[in-house]
Symmetry: C2
Subunit: 363 residues, 2 copies
Amino acid sequence: MHTVRVNLGPRAYDIAVTSNDPSGVGPFACRCVPKSTAAIVIGDTNVESHVQRVREQLAANGFRTDTSLVPAGESSKNLFSAAFLFDKLADMTADRQTLVVAVGGGVVGDLAGFVAATYNRGLPLLMVPTTLLAMVDSSVGGKTGVNHPKGKNLIGAFYQPAGVWIDTAFLTTLPDREYRSGLAEVVKYGVILDHELFAFLEANVAPILARDPTAVRHIVARSCRLKADVVEQDEREETGLRAVLNYGHTFAHAFETVGGYGAWLHGEAVAAGMVCAAKLAERLGRVGPELGDRQAKLLEAFGLPTTAKPEWGVDTLLDVMRRDKKAEAGKLRFVLPSRLGHVELVGDVPERVVREVLAECQR
Amino acid sequence: MHTVRVNLGPRAYDIAVTSNDPSGVGPFACRCVPKSTAAIVIGDTNVESHVQRVREQLAANGFRTDTSLVPAGESSKNLFSAAFLFDKLADMTADRQTLVVAVGGGVVGDLAGFVAATYNRGLPLLMVPTTLLAMVDSSVGGKTGVNHPKGKNLIGAFYQPAGVWIDTAFLTTLPDREYRSGLAEVVKYGVILDHELFAFLEANVAPILARDPTAVRHIVARSCRLKADVVEQDEREETGLRAVLNYGHTFAHAFETVGGYGAWLHGEAVAAGMVCAAKLAERLGRVGPELGDRQAKLLEAFGLPTTAKPEWGVDTLLDVMRRDKKAEAGKLRFVLPSRLGHVELVGDVPERVVREVLAECQR
């Protein structure tokens, strides 16, 4: 088992990265939250069997357990589902030591994390991501939240988990499209922080697509370490440093909002968003065409989209982008590469250039 | 103007305590949140004129402003009102610098604070309390939240404001019952932390009830300082120290929950709760009868209730108390005095004794 430590002072926690160790989660939970004696295991209808197995392991380690399933899909990530889970916690007479266990992908992690952050002003949280995207991204770093009709993750809180348990065996049942979607975020880490990871991905497309456990553990643990490094330096997205993680995401959130949550998987939107961001950097004279070309080639090798859908109007997309959390006073800001493995936050980008990029990406 | 500094490192903020200085709030807001250019002023229908005046002052200091009113009363403190305010913020294209200004009593402060804590994972918050209770208690310390049918403040977050603006002139229009309710929390500070404040209250009942500005500024600033001292040492109620502020509150929350939110004002419930807590301390041999007698006499002088309503069943009250945030694994814990000006957190109190106290207080 590989352990990635997220050093956040009083909120520090461990990410365990392992393969095929179903009974490991119980002792790990006991180590993360020694004072907890009760737990609610939250998942969605796609991962019901994983939820039951995690529950059994917690019960075997002395926890009084309950479970709660929400319908699978992004449409569950809203205030109504949160209210349903608040009711469930109240029914089980949860106290401040009751452990919330999130088993599933990003939707379950964000939703259960938000519930843990706000019930009784904070319950301990154990993340058990079952998708590649959740393993390398949403379960690490403390972002929790639900969607609002006017914007993704518009309601939420920064809230660190007590621990993250990653077993790559969960990936064996993951649909191919979801697995590829997770790879988009791994590519992102290469572009923004680690040209060696990027080169590893280019050199190992076949074993990665075949979900070879050694290759997968390497890219998962490396992605978690890179994200943890950033989060440690800018826990609440205040200094601008954490914003590098949003490479491609201003475009991606607009695609998701305009396309409707669920039309594209998050990683698919991020893939197309990164293509747009690289084009924008090139138009602004920040990089040559090589970076965008290598990035597009790798994303295509992973079977990810590299163009936006032509039916999404440029004006509508821009309107959503102006409401982005990274926007300030309506001015557009983007995370753009300056070379492979390095990005910068660029403020006040002319709207005209963004329009040109969106039009080009919709061809 | 008296300033109370709440020292919380990166989350430090000032509480300004002043009298009759309506134009002061604009410059104070600019000082607290120099990067904000837009603000939403949230209040309830009882304080509409205060909301408009605060809005004008912010507009005069360069803020783009909007307002939102919720119906007055505890029944507005729920997830539906929060959702209404989330919509309002989305409509005004709020970004992370948009200032949320809470003008009103504890309900508005807790609700607007929760919305500020969770919209875009955190907007800057300026508290402008207009009731005595909010001035001395709910606007200081970072507790935000909404009610759930199964418990008060069950959904919420710890979230520090950027500043608190207290103008005692707001109190001139406050109904007498609400003013007296606020005095209960001031009495609480005397009992738990400051026997001199307690003696000052005993010696100044008449000027305090007459809302003499000098006397009011003294008790407000002193209460804020005492609360700030505690919050500085235990921001998130983790070490047990902050729990001292909950003196009388385990009983009080049960009275409020069983009686229905709004049957009693919060301070009224706290007054009766403190009487119960003193009786419990006496039965457990922790104090003699004098402390409870002095406390009851002072509360009666302020026109506050000192008995619980007989129609509330002891079993029902106990059931709510076991779900209290301070309970651990269903065991009852209470903050109890050991002498005037000093309290301790007492764990595992026998249920039998609590039953006796509840029965005695309902006579």
